[in-house]
Symmetry: C2
Subunit: 198 residues, 2 copies
DNA sequence: AAAATACTTGACTGATTAGTCTACATGGGC
DNA sequence: GCCCATGTAGACTAATCAGTCAAGTATTTT
């Protein structure tokens, strides 16, 4: 039931927003009653923290696979961006909208008002950046890009990517995400190969 | 009074969020009563549309100056990013938080639920991109960058910038914005000059 | 000065909100 | 058969929400 509640919460907050997702609505979707909700969580804020952590745990294995060191570093990004694109396109079929990234949507919404949720978003954000950072470091070591500060480069790329996801949500346009692969190459400073000419 | 209401609304929504900004709170800050509010606007949604348009009108002259064709094209970006950085740092002094861009925060929050506000954000977003687009086209014409599709490049840069602003909001860190100037150069594909070496 | 328009006031409604509380069910260990 | 821990049920509160409305005051028009 705990899982049903966190799943329901994340679904609703992702599709709509933190503010418009009521505890009643979460309970209804999870098939739970108010009493159960407050048995497991002492507030909506605390549930949100749990929901975000649960979502992270659900995705972690997948992220590990996408960013496996066995994959050539720049290809990891392509695979990741493709994966997110496909997932968001799939969700769009279900709910009619490109939903972007819940970390950014929820984080941006509550950052000035709920330090617990804000810190959780921040923490998970940092974990995800580590995948980028390590891929960038590998690419640099292989001479594919020049990135003397992989951490800064990773943060920059991650921010750019999330901006694109947010724009895709606002404009409800999945194409922006598809186009991001090229933008990522610019941000990374990928050295041109002759395959690029046309 | 209409102006006082839209100003109050934008301030509150920018600092907090659309959802947590109540009509009562807007009225209180504006020194207006409920009746006046609903005399001018028929809903909170409609007020938000008016507030966003008013904000645009307030900023337009400034944007025109920053992106004046008399300024070298790449310098326009530097000036703009500096301006936003300084403005957000100033607001941070007042309210303790880096607030990011209200278009993104509000847009991301309401995009799946309020088509009126969503369309307004979209429209203003497009107007702002035009400044980028024209600067990019000029830079391309002067051989400073290679950007055969200035519109796409402008959208990409705008998205990256907004992602950075959102991240700055979530992490309450203004430095991310300062660092963006270099990222922008990567996205734009600015050709290296010898001044860069060190 | 009358009339019409523009705007303000604040009490009101009914719905919804997060969160509480007590009573109840279930199932396992003894 | 009984205890106790783990959960469930759902009515309840008090606050807050967006929005209404009828009566009032200014301001402008005629």
């Amino acid at each position: 039931m705990k899982k049903r509640l966190t799943d329901a919460a994340l679904d609703l907050m992702w599709e709509n927003s933190y503010g418009t997702t009521s505890v009643d609505a979460i309970c209804e979707r999870a098939g739970a009653k108010k009493g159960s909700f407050y048995y497991f969580f002492k507030s909506k804020s605390e549930l949100t923290v749990a929901a975000l952590e649960a979502e992270w745990n659900k995705n972690k294995a997948n992220m590990d696979a996408l960013f496996s060191p066995t994959v050539p570093p720049l290809e990891r990004f392509d695979r990741y961006f493709d994966y997110v694109h496909d997932r968001l396109a799939e969700l769009q079929e279900e709910c009619g909208s490109i939903l972007g990234c819940p970390l950014l949507s929820i984080g941006s919404e509550v950052s000035t008002q709920d330090q617990g949720v804000r810190a959780t978003v921040d923490r998970i954000w940092d974990r995800k950046i580590k995948y980028f950072e390590s891929a960038i470091r590998d690419a640099h070591a292989q001479g594919l890009i020049v990135a003397p500060d992989p951490e800064a480069k990773a943060r920059a790329l991650f921010a750019c990517y999330h901006g694109t996801l947010a724009q895709a949500r606002i404009q409800n346009d999945v194409e922006l995400i598809r186009d991001f692969k090229e933008v990522a190459r610019d941000v990374l400073g990928v050295k041109q190969t002759d395959a690029v000419s046309s």
